[in-house]
Structures are given as structure tokens and as C-alpha cells.
């Protein structure tokens, strides 16, 4: 089977995904038999998502816009990407989805500002070329 969160191939009987730590079982695993001491069970990492659903964190796009659009707007996108994965690991699905939306928003802001610079630069180059041509004649 495949992990619905990260898509990694996992053994059929795996309880959590080895790659992202998402809980792979719809029901909690049966308690161990004959435990001499009753230990408080640790909360299982990950959240239950409907099959096929993911919460994208836009990390790759955040890094790309930070490096290539060269804009401070990429940094909040990376911070929100970290929040998405952190909240998924903590089991907070609604928080992860909200952080995912914010990460996407900041990626788009960064991309938009980067594209604006490229377009303005394109006009300047064009203006420079046209000025050069008109001065030659």
C-alpha cells in the first residue's frame, strides 16, 4: 500500500508511514496483551485523512520562490510549510490545512512580485534596444 500523505510505499501491515509518520490505520491498533504495567499510551503521530487526500506544504515552491524570485515573501512561505508538516505530525488537520493555505498564499505573493520584476525588466530591455536602434539611424 501507499501512504496517502506522502505517497511512500509502505508495508501492508505498517501502523505509521516510515517516511512522514502519518498514522496509516483507520482504527487505533489493538492494545498489547498481558502488559505488566499499564503505561499511558503515547498519542500516535499523524492524522487520519480520507484516502487519497493530502495537505500540500508547498515547500519546494517556497524554496524556489525564495531563491529565484529573491524576495522576503518566500521566507514566510517556508515557515508556513514547516507549520503544515509540524501540525500534520501532531495530528492537527484543520491547523495543517490553514497553514497550507497560508503557505500557498505567500508562494503566490512571492511569485507575483518576482514575475512583476521580470516583466518590468523586460520592458526596460525593450526600451533600451529601441533607443539603441533609433540612435543608430
Amino acid at each position: 500500500m501507499f501512504c496517502p500523505q506522502c505517497g511512500a510505499s509502505t508495508p501492508d501491515n505498517a501502523v505509521v508511514c516510515m517516511q512522514c509518520g502519518r498514522n496509516l490505520q483507520a482504527a487505533p491498533p489493538p492494545p498489547l496483551q498481558a502488559a505488566p504495567y499499564q503505561v499511558t499510551p503515547l498519542p500516535t503521530p499523524g492524522v487520519i485523512l480520507p484516502p487519497g487526500a493530502t495537505v500540500p506544504n508547498y515547500l519546494v515552491f517556497a524554496i524556489l520562490t525564495t531563491l529565484f524570485c529573491c524576495l522576503p515573501a518566500g521566507i514566510p512561505a517556508i515557515v508556513y510549510a514547516a507549520q503544515v508538516n509540524g501540525k500534520l505530525q501532531a495530528g492537527d488537520l484543520a491547523g495543517a490545512q490553514q497553514a497550507s493555505k497560508n503557505a500557498k498564499l505567500w508562494c503566490l505573493i512571492s511569485l507575483g512580485l518576482g514575475l512583476a520584476v521580470v516583466v518590468i525588466w523586460g520592458f526596460l530591455v525593450l526600451a533600451g534596444v529601441l533607443t539603441g536602434i533609433s540612435h543608430q539611424n
Binding site: M1, F2, C3, P4, Q5, C6, G7, A8, S9, Q19, C20, G21, G52, T54, N57, L59, V60, I63, L64, T66, L67, F68, C69, C70, L71, I75, I78, V79, A81, A82, Q83, N85, G86, Q89, L113, V117, V118, I120, W121, G122, V125
Partner: protein, 143 residues
Amino acid sequence: MLETWNRRLLAALFGIGAVGVILLRVFDPATSRIFPPCPVWYLTGWYCPGCGSLRAIHQLLHGNLQVAWAMNPLTVILLPFISYGLVSHAVIAIRGQGHGLPRLFLPAVWIRALCAVIVLYGIARNLPFYPVNLLAPGAMLRF
């Protein structure tokens, strides 16, 4: 349908990316003026974490790893991961969840560390003393 829209958007983005790679292979951002300068550098005179990345990719496309490293070492290190992230994203979009490559999933601590590295790297390459001044674009070529 949203699905076809996503695929078209993805195809368009990868088309633009392919054109960009060809332009980067043919023209050198160090000498050509068709690439825009970094807005941060242009406005403030400071190097941002991404400054030199286009020159680095141009040099990588010509097989000059050493010159690429001198232009922007962080880009050279991150490029394999970014490439894998983009390729796996595209394969998952085309072939569906679970049938493509595993999605890149980093624990939150790693992403925060990466963010800190990018910010500190951006500061370090502007400092005027050895050895961090080697991180400025092209500085390693002058030693």
C-alpha cells in the same frame, strides 16, 4: 474539471521552466543582459540567498561544477532536492497518488533548520571578513 486544470497549469509551468533552462544554457547571466538582476541586490546592494543561482545553473549546464559552486554553493546543494521535488510533484499529478514517486516529506524541524540556514547564509555572504566572504557570488574564483 479541476484535475485537467491542474495538469494544464503544471504543463505550462514545466514548459516555461524548459524554456528557461534552454535560455540559461545558451546565454551566460554573468555577461548577458537578458536576465533581470536580483531585485534585492539592485535596490540595496546586498546579496540575497539566491544571488548567483542563475550563473551557477548556467555553469552546471556546461559541466563546470567548480565555477557553479563559487557562484552559489547553497543552490548547488539544494538543486538535487528541488529537482526531485518538482519531478515527483509532476509524476504524482500525471500518474496519481501512490503510482508515482514518493512525495518529498520533511519533518517540521528540518524545514525550520533549512529556513534558518537560508537566512544565515544570506547574512553571511554579505559580511566582509574571511571565511564567510567566500560565500559572495564569484568570490571563491578570486582566491
